[in-house]
Point group: C2
Chain length 217, copies 2
DNA sequence: TGTACATCAGTGAACGCGCGTTCACTGATGTAC
DNA sequence: TGTACATCAGTGAACGCGCGTTCACTGATGTAC
């Protein structure tokens, strides 16, 4: 009886322990930031000796790389699913915000302070442009026939980042602007830069979102 | 002969060594990020034993705190000086961008990923609102009598962060938007998120800046 | 169904490292008479 | 101007810590006949 994709018990066990390790890693990142992530600390938390983890990850770097990959995947899937269920650009914005608030340090692992010298593996940039494609499709749906601003033209001349997406220049511009504006509000909010001031960050987020939609109409 | 503010030679020496320590600290941060900053490494770089630095800083935390303070001061002074020399909001934007590009890790020390649990000392928030005041003045100069958007009204209801600044609601809104939009572009640019894509980040920055000025006219 | 063997998860000891920080000290620099 | 004393910068040894990572090993789990 040939079971096509059946995992052996050992394989299932391995996969399960790997996820358990990652869960503890995320907890630790949420508590003390990514730079404080330690294999030994995770092992202790799991009630297991330090070297045991080397059965599951080649080392600290591989673990972090995989966490980054997972985070990108999670965001890409969350957005793609929402889009498939009919969310427009505005809907995607709120999905993005929800995903970020869910675990701020996970957001910062992707879009926060870079570690000088570290270079993300290739496949994460693939997921990253999958995200851009989702946004881009939602943007294209909003563009009727807006006049192309100079920067939109410039973007259209350098559209390597969109792959083969057939979006008009104005949509490229809108997607780019969407990304930077949402990130601008979100990252300052998550970093706590609005806490002293008493206004509601969500209202700022919505105001920025509306400024985008107004422009594209 | 009472010299009012004359520093003794020893005081001058102390001040000089303190600055030298900080310079090496910045070098180290630029090279490996703030989380990798180490007193012993600085000492070694200065050709001096580790404990020697404790004559100048109570410990690692005090050094970092002072670096943050200095960075805020530097940004506040840079903007204030530019404003005093006649720079308008657009001018301030380019000054801000220049300051950020000069030392990305310094920018991230202020506006990048927060370390969970760390709380900035009170005086840095004072400098931070000094920065906001400079921006706000430049914004107020641009506002003729724009209709107040809902969020501007909300901001005006919670204007704790502006101190006693007599700016109209629309100017508050503009300042806030200026901050988040410029940060959105800058932080993604400095973190290298545009490197794969081939367009020119400065053109995006300028496009965002123009979208602001257009709105305020 | 039972035995013989291979696979592999996890252990404990060990290595070398760099960290922040303390302490008692030496020796140079400044101060007071 | 010269001597006596206080101040203080910097040293070297030491403490305890946690880190990533390697290695030879035990013992349980799965596989083949």
């Amino acid at each position: 009886m040939a079971k096509p994709d059946a995992a052996t018990p050992r394989e299932r066990y391995r996969a399960q322990v790997r996820t358990e390790i990652k869960e503890h890693a995320w907890e630790q990142i949420a508590t003390a930031g990514a730079s404080a992530l330690s294999l030994n600390a995770i092992a202790k938390q799991m009630g297991v000796s330090g070297p045991a983890l080397y059965r599951y990850f080649a080392g600290r770097d591989e673990l972090i790389t995989e966490l980054i990959r997972d985070a990108y995947r999670s965001l890409a899937d969350t957005l793609r699913t929402a889009a498939a269920e009919g969310a427009d650009l505005s809907g995607l914005a709120h999905v993005l915000r929800g995903w970020a608030l869910e675990d701020p340090q996970r957001y910062f692992l992707l879009y926060g302070t870079p570690v000088p010298g570290y270079h993300a593996p290739d496949d994460t940039t693939a997921i990253s442009s999958e995200i851009m494609a989702t946004l881009l499709t939602a943007c294209a749906a909003l563009i009727q026939d807006a006049p192309d601003a100079p920067f939109a033209a410039h973007l259209a001349d350098h559209r390597d980042w969109v792959g083969a997406h057939p979006a008009p220049p104005a949509a490229l511009h809108l997607a780019m602007t969407f990304w930077t504006r949402m990130h601008g509000v979100l990252s300052l909010e998550l970093a706590g830069h609005f806490t002293g001031m008493r206004f509601d960050p969500e209202q700022l987020f919505v105001a920025e979102l509306e400024s985008l939609l107004r422009r594209s109409a």
